[in-house]
Symmetry: D3
């Protein structure tokens, strides 16, 4: 029997497939609009990753965009201009009071952020293959996944500044922690300029540039995730948890949390199995998580 999930992952604007044992592939599927996002899409994205997070048949997740034209062009600005916080309050029959409008916006932004943070909170390791066009929300989303690789021809940009907006769904918060140059972060965030794969690698935004197009990218991404999926799910879960926790906290805080975490985790059978397999020079298999 295949370990692939028998759960239902049918969500509008997304394809979820299981190309390899233990690996899920989530595809943003609105290619005719360059995979641009409307509200239902980020809500569905959150639901998908939340469901995958607890699915014992899944040990690693790949995220791409459908088609060859874009990972995603970001927010669908035409839709955003029609309803929601960027639309005209008057037209919406909403309160004209600035404070009430601000509180409405606060709920909206917080909900939107929570959808993207749901990717970060997914208990399974996640990898974004950046390809083609990766603008605006593309970075908010990619920065919420664990691993990032890109094809050679990807064009990246933090486009929010060009619509009069400071990016508020995660890019400005996570990018300075994810890469190694604050001067570069501010350059791309304040100018909105397009940059390419080699620059993304140089600053550390991605860990690898795959030679070739999207197909090669997917192949390489599945290879990496295939390696991860063979490890102990307990070890993988703990590694992700500790890395994310330590981000933006002091070393002392990080070590203390780690010690408490592992006080339970190292009681796992997986360690005994892994140690024994090491001695016996064979590949261990691990119970589902």
């Amino acid at each position: 029997m295949s370990p692939s999930s028998s759960n239902n992952y049918s969500y509008e604007y997304f394809n979820v497939t299981f190309p390899q044992p233990y690996i899920a592939h989530v595809e943003i599927n609105r290619p005719e609009k360059l995979n641009a996002f409307i509200e239902i899409m980020w809500q569905n994205l959150a639901k998908i990753f939340t469901q995958l997070s607890h699915d014992p048949s899944v040990r690693a997740i790949l995220l791409t965009g459908a088609g060859d034209r874009a990972f995603t062009a970001g927010l669908d600005v035409h839709a955003a201009a029609q309803s929601g916080p960027l639309a005209d309050a008057e037209k919406e029959g909403a309160s004209q009071d600035v404070a009430r409008r601000a509180l409405y916006n606060l709920r909206h932004i917080t909900d939107f952020q929570a959808c993207i943070t749901a990717i970060e909170k997914c208990e399974k390791p996640t990898l974004t293959l950046l390809h083609s066009l990766a603008y605006g929300l593309a970075l908010d989303i990619a920065l919420s996944t664990d691993l990032r690789i890109t094809t050679t021809s990807t064009r990246f940009a933090i486009k929010e500044v060009d619509i009069g907006l400071a990016a508020d769904i995660g890019t400005l918060t996570r990018l300075p922690k994810a890469v190694g140059s604050m001067a570069w972060v501010k350059d791309v965030a304040l100018t909105g300029r397009v940059f390419g794969a080699e620059e993304a690698l140089r600053v550390g935004l991605v860990s690898e540039v795959v030679q070739g197009g999207k197909e090669e990218g997917v192949r390489r991404a599945l290879e990496v995730l295939g390696v991860v999926a063979q490890k102990s799910p307990v070890a993988v879960r703990g590694t992700k948890e500790i890395l994310d926790y330590g981000w933006g906290r002091t070393v002392e805080e990080g070590l203390r949390y780690t010690a408490v975490w592992n006080s339970a985790m190292i009681q796992t059978q997986d360690i005994k199995d892994a140690l024994l397999s090491g001695i016996q020079k064979r590949k261990p298999t691990f119970e589902k998580l």
Copy 2:
């Protein structure tokens, strides 16, 4: 009428000019001493950036050193040896009590730090063009600006260790956050060795090395700032605010602050104007800030 500031920016040891609409150029002006700093200079520097911060005619700021020999050689050690906390307490008629001297020093260091932090707090985006010699205080100052680019021949060094001093005006606090290699930070901070433009780029201290001399550097810097100055001032202000706030805080804290910030900011007319201009394929113009 030109949008350039009609305010008075006449401060000793500095030239403040307005080479392009919305752009201020601050030049450290003590070239005969390699632009080395004496107390009045960091006080004036703070005043200039505080004034520019609230000047509605200014949307971006360039910082350079006068002449071709140095951005700045750092603290004027001859002057520092004469008065202030590095001078001899006895000679100054100050208290000989260690605690009272420490409290005097604490006030002095705190005031000095506040002058440099005034650059960081400037509400407008700032860019340091590093050129020629950039020693000691040069880095404290450059690390308080948003953007950093350099010419090819710049020589950088954290020189404080060579005068028996741990750099206390910002470099040691900001540099580990600004670049991507703690081993490299400690190398240059503990050895005081000189490094060049390519190394500065590799570690992320600068986002770009401009081929050529200072003139080419200034031209390129104005080009970058020119792009920034065309964006919505509300979007630029928010982008800077959120990036700076997130530095050294957790993702959760950063997202929450961002949401509150944007709950008001996305009510701006700028977004409507930018969206409309996008549809109409024309450049938007924005109200002053």
Copy 3:
């Protein structure tokens, strides 16, 4: 009389020598086991660095592994499988209660972490020369030192994931702060893959790749430490303290701590000596610390 320490540094599995004035060389000495670690070794490592920390004859410390085959291969998994938290509780006659076992583990992990953190807390600057094989614990240890350089042929890996374990002694907490690419950190932490010197340099894990073998590496390392050892010990101590403190704290917190620290430190005679030497174009000498 030589400034080298006359103290006794005789610890099992370690060689401590004084190859140059003010410089100690700590060598992990279990080459027949690829310098793999058993419990007594991390306890001794902590004792050595704690003793060196207060030894006035020491101003800089080099850490290497004995022999040419490994800096260290990491934890001795055979030994770990026999006793301690990774061993079978039953065999040990320990409590079978999960909570009691977790509390036993918590003590053990906390003690182990404290041993490695003792390196970080060493008041003197420390440099790890990574060479040959540098797996698992090799990184926990190296990340607790200030400086990291490598020879060209070093093979690095975060191996813990392969024994079913999230690395809990420091790597996962310190690595994301030490380098400039979270995507890369997660890649090497989740796959356990081997990487080389050039990659280590590119992401900022090391500040330099020394051409040649271990011998050339040691020579270069001593050269770097020789420079550091000539600086004011007060300035070096403060530089290290402030850099470590600022890591993972906000800029405001870092500046405040720095100001208090230096309010006493700049009363040192070393500054006067350094300033005078600068004027007289001679090398200053400084009192021991």
Copy 4:
């Protein structure tokens, strides 16, 4: 037309009524079991407060227990022993692996905590009337509301220690911040002893002891909430937000967040209305929120 909510608040084990304009009354309704909690109850509690949070007809919320015998006796331990993390893993057919069981528990505790935190996150001010018996979960819940008053005869206890458990749903985290004596907190948390209304008032756990029984308590609670419900909803929302945010953060952090928050909120019409009403000596009315 009544401002009372026309929404449906029909949740098992709870009565939700609207005794006064703008005021909701939530009653825990399992009196035959002393209002002891089973899983569906904390899930419903979260749903109720989340719904009330966004209900524009509601400006203040009262929480009580049905009947005269208990606010709540806490967790239903009989039910907890049958399923969930306190039950026997074997019986449940769950994984016997300690790590996997721990991760299952982690999800469960996190979900449970989130249900109680949903009360804290409710945008409207909340008041718990503590009465009769208030054990265990009673305190976790009450500490998540804003206001706490009690009748004279209430018996309080942190009972978790008596079932071998450190209270993990909020009491141990929130109580030390909510009251003014850490020695007292540890006394009641470590001994599990019963204490009364006067002691609760003395340490600050409640702000008022109402003379009489539950009926008098409800009357007084509605009186207090009636006052709150007449204030500007924008001012009330901000007051709650800023108080909660500042808890456990530094003064600097609190002030900064406050300034950003109010930069939008003081643009409200409510202030103009309130100021004018003050001058005209009449009661202002405010738009719904």
Copy 5:
């Protein structure tokens, strides 16, 4: 010669006198308006405390309101309705854009907060005698001083909620840290109700209720400050610094900062003098600070 300050402390709306050696008395002086605050007043208040902070003739500061009718009734709402962020933007010719107005407000609130925080940052111990009427801003100000005592008849209230406003100048941030009952804090902040001296003592807002009127209050306040003024200024300065720093930080952070602080301070001559005086049973005198 008297140790009283010979500096000039002439500020509109304030009387600054020196009733005893080393003690300054600052009196809010707008009694005909119940000492209600207009903008120039909080600016002057900040200037006064900043000047006193560095005045070596001053070792302790008393703050009261002029006249018998009010310490202060808080913000002068009539003035606030005419100009500033609570006034009508249109009338002011200010930008109608919500974002620009918010940024204007942000500057204003930040400046206002900084004026009150200047009291907290004053290096000398400060005491507020609360008397008569102490509404709104009265609490923001009193919470920024170190010591708080009250006369029996004082009426206190957090009045901001009644003008549609969440108190943003400090009360909501500092009060939950200053007293021991969060339920009580929320009660008085959300209802705006008036409370008295005994209640203020019970919750810890003040440390003492002086029997009698303002005259008795001032006499007692000077008595307390007289005791403080006889202590070593170095010890007093450090005690205040460490207490304020620890507020809202972890114990670990507090201890580390304390250790660095005292590493310089205990080198003071004051300790030797105090120890010797103790042995000789006489009162020590200390050098000015």
Copy 6:
């Protein structure tokens, strides 16, 4: 066989006895000097609590002073004036350089703090019975224990200010978190005044005032600890851990740590035993920890 410890607890200046099953009684034993502390005493105190922390025969610890005259009068100032950081550097042959002296002091204070923090880190619940005289260090120590009760006649004071010193061993860091009135904390810290048992109870420094003398106090203390010692050691350990962790951290941080902690702890047999005992109406017994 008695559950009392068979370990050796023989430390100079301390008596350690086991008056009841599972309860240790630590007595400061230098009554002829009012139990005043010299360096060997705080070092021994740390050793005792560290040993008790891991002693499975111990479940609760009482701390008192020998004799009827003092719990402790604090630091032995005569001894402190002879050697250590408060003594004359010259006399000690130590470095006269201010920075080197400061670094020596820093080590000394940090070590001293660590000795007192060892009490706080003790895994077992601790209770200080404050009696007779409790000055200076008495409070540093008592604030590091979990529970504090007092006899009626105890005289308390923060005496450090009277020897020219800001208390740096813990009182100023822990007291503002432990009690509910910052105004009161500053009052007693800045004036050094003596206060009594009723005041200590009112502000929350102690949780109980025992009528009578030291004998009655000990009897009551043992009664309280007897209750604690009967609880599950796993539940007690977790309750203490979570309470201490949450202190000075945000609610979010506290809840997350709690969830991870309990994910292992609720797998304990103690819960099953406690639940069963509850049903069977008998007292549970628990395995040692």
